[in-house]
Amino acid sequence: MVGFVDLYTEGDTFLHRMDPRVKITSVILLSILAFVLSSLEALGLLLLLIMALVVLSRTPISKTAFAFKFVFRLMVLIVILWPLFDRSGEPVIASLGPLRLTEPALLRGLTSATRIGCLATVWYILMFTTQQRDIVRALVKMGVRFDFGLTLAISLRFFPTFGATIGSIMDAQRARGLEFGRGGLLKRTRNYVAVLVPAIVSAMRTADGLSWALQSRAYGARPDRTYLRDFRMRWSDYASLMAVVLILALPLTAKLALGMDL
């Protein structure tokens, strides 16, 4: 549960040292690139680049395997489902009754799956190598309002706590003889009410207490804030940003100005 929310692993690679603002910008730029590219080859190359960066982040695969499994399943699902809705084009590879598997549809399925793969995994690079509080602080530095940033930080911070609370609630109800995953639809729905109501009540009590605690520590007393550690762009950060801008700009120019099929 905890691992699902916080993918960060301590490390000292160039990705860990990179200014979080550069990382966030780069990830956004690479996401845009994934939308711009439309050929399977180019998207495949982008996915390879992203995977290379994931490897360079030296994040233990044991900790992140589930995240990749999730993306991989999604990709497989897209490849399987695409031809069901897209039966256009020639040549037909196989057909069964009303179902037709055509080569262009298969190609489009693969392309979309690869694009989704890129879009999902590129964010992993940020999440694997950046502490959540640094992500939030970088967003605030980049112009997001501080209270939005704080709200985001608190939600992230309380995710594992909330997960543990739900675990305890399920335990408490199981001790009262409740069996999850059994019975008809009505019974199952009712079972979840037994978890949802205490979960919401606990969350609201926590939120209430937290807001009092924040106020008692003078939250909002001054609009401007100071920070213990500040971000400083180094030459390597500028270089990384330049590299990513080029990675986006080159294919973009080739595609739009030169009309290349990327």
């Binding site: 609370t165 009262r176 205490p198 009590r205």
Partner: protein, 284 residues
């Protein structure tokens, strides 16, 4: 380990734990080689510092956690082959935080939830619910929404909801946390009544005064092991054991220890006993 005196209770074993070991995902060994028998009519206080394994032990007994090694027999049946609701018919577990379980619109429905899950007949459920509401003094709050009640009352609702399931053994996890003295005394009196009716009570607590006043048997845990299993008198006489498990005996016992040089016995557990010994000393 000091064995429990045979005089504690009869020999009617309800729960029998042998060489229990429990390791959490991530490698924390919370309970190690623990052997314990729980007999009918016992009133056991399980005490120990935070992280000593008390709650892990309790969750193993009622099946919410399953032993990594060792066996738990419940009424002669292997608990590993029993589903949680099946175990819940014998061992009831009242969680510390009432907000983790209350969800019904009225107190009565809340109390009804447990026994209904266990498949008792409608009439049986009615009888059990009324008995539980009586036992916890909740009849006047029957139609109130449980979440609107005070903490002490919410706690009583959670206990009633376990009592209504009519188990033989009750596990109460820190039932008096957050209650004032009066609420706490009242609650403990209710538990005593249950015990007097022949129910077995396992009380998980930090509060040594509760232990000295209510428990018949004290199981002291430290680092996942039982380091002492005795009556309260014996447990409080051994300051070293208590210190080892981050516990402090009740003030009156500490006073008795301090007065040891004046001939006061160290196994005193109530103010009345201390007064008795002091008066006898001054007469003699």
């Amino acid at each position: 380990m000091i064995p429990a005196p045979s005089s504690v209770q009869g020999s009617d074993k309800i729960v029998s734990i042998t060489d229990l070991r429990f390791t959490y995902e991530g490698g924390v060994e919370a309970v190690k080689d623990l052997t314990l028998d729980i007999r009918k009519g016992d009133y056991i206080a399980v005490v120990g510092g935070n992280g000593s394994g008390k709650t892990t032990l309790a969750k193993n007994i009622n099946g919410l956690l399953r032993p990594s090694r060792g066996t738990i027999m419940i009424r002669g049946h292997d608990a590993s082959k029993m589903a949680v609701p099946e175990i819940a018919k014998v061992v009831g577990y009242a969680f510390q935080n009432p907000d983790y379980q209350l969800f019904c619109p009225t107190v009565e429905e809340e109390v009804r939830f447990g026994p209904s899950n266990l498949g008792y007949s409608h009439e049986d459920v009615n009888v059990k619910v009324q008995r539980a509401l009586d036992a916890m003094n909740l009849q006047h709050l029957r139609t109130k929404p449980p979440l609107s009640l005070r903490l002490g009352e919410r706690r009583r609702v959670t206990l009633a909801s376990v009592i209504a399931m009519d188990p033989e053994v009750f596990i109460f996890d820190e039932p008096t946390t957050g209650l004032d003295t009066e609420e706490s005394e009242m609650l403990m009196q209710k538990l005593r009544n249950l015990n007097a009716e022949g129910k077995t009570i396992i009380l998980i607590t930090h509060d040594m005064r509760l232990v000295s006043e209510h428990a018949k048997r004290v199981v002291v845990m430290s680092q996942g092991r039982v380091i002492l299993d005795s009556d309260p008198r014996g447990a409080f006489a051994d300051l070293d054991i208590l210190r080892k498990s981050n516990l402090e005996p009740p003030a009156v016992t500490k006073l008795a220890h301090a007065l040891k040089a004046y001939g006061v016995p160290v196994d005193i557990i109530s103010p009345e006993e201390l007064v008795f010994h002091l008066l006898r000393g001054s007469e003699g």
